[in-house]
C-alpha cells in the first residue's frame, strides 16, 4: 500500500511517500495510523495526536473507521489551511 504524507507530517516523518506491506489485521484507517506509529520514533512522534492527523483514501476525506484495501492510495496530513 502506498502512503503519502503532507506538510509537517512529511517533514516530521522525513519522507513524502512510502510503500508498506500491511499486516492482515490492519483493516481500517485507525488501525493503519496505530500501526504506522510502530515503524519508527519519527512516525510515533508525528502521529501521536490523532486529532491533527487527517486521512484521505483514494483522494477522499475519510473517518478513522473507514475500511482499507491493498490497492488504496492513502494520504495522511494535518488539518488543511488553504484559501
Amino acid at each position: 500500500m502506498k502512503i503519502l504524507y503532507f506538510a509537517w507530517l512529511r517533514s516530521k516523518i522525513g519522507v513524502p511517500t512510502e510503500t508498506v506491506d500491511l499486516p492482515a489485521e490492519v483493516t481500517t484507517v485507525g488501525a493503519l495510523v496505530d500501526w504506522l506509529k510502530t515503524r519508527s520514533p519519527r512516525h510515533a512522534e508525528a502521529l501521536a495526536n490523532s486529532k491533527v492527523v487527517k486521512v484521505a483514501v483514494n483522494q477522499e476525506h475519510v473517518p478513522y473507521d473507514h475500511p482499507l484495501s491493498a490497492t488504496d492510495e492513502v494520504a495522511l496530513f494535518p488539518p488543511v489551511t488553504g484559501g
Binding site: L4, Q59, P79, V80
Partner: protein
Amino acid sequence: MTIRVQAEDFDVGAEYTAFTAGRTSIGGVTLFVGLVRDIAGGEAVSAMTLEHYPGMTERQLEAIEAEARRRWPLDDVLVIHRYGRLEPGDQIVLVATASAHRDAAFDSCRFLIDWLKTKAPFWKLEATPDGERWVEAKDSDDAAAARWAE
C-alpha cells in the same frame, strides 16, 4: 465551470472579462480574492509557501463546486488557487460566481471559499523572523464552514 490549480499569478480583470463574455443571462457576479498578509498571529510574515496534494486538490474543488451548483442556480463558477512560494500582497485564490440574481452569486461565493478552506488539501508554511512555521487550522474556519450545513 473552471477549476485551476496553478503556481502562476492571475489577472482578476482578465478573468472577469472572460468569465462574463457573451453571456447576457447573468445578472450579477461575485468575486472573492484572497491575498497573503504581512502579519499573522502578531508576527511578521515575509513569505508563504503553499503545498497541496495534486489530484485530490482538483477533485475536492470539483466536488465543492458541484455542491454549490446543487444549492444555487448558477450560470458559472470559476475557482483559481495558487501553490508555491508567495509574498505579502500576492494573490492566493480567486472565487467567482455568476447568477441571474445577486443573492445566489453572493451566497454561493461565500459558501465556496468557506468550504474550500476546510476541505481542499492545501497547507501554508509561513516564513517569519523566528523561522518557518506551518499555519494551524482555525476553529473559526470550521465554524464558517459549519454554517452551511444543511
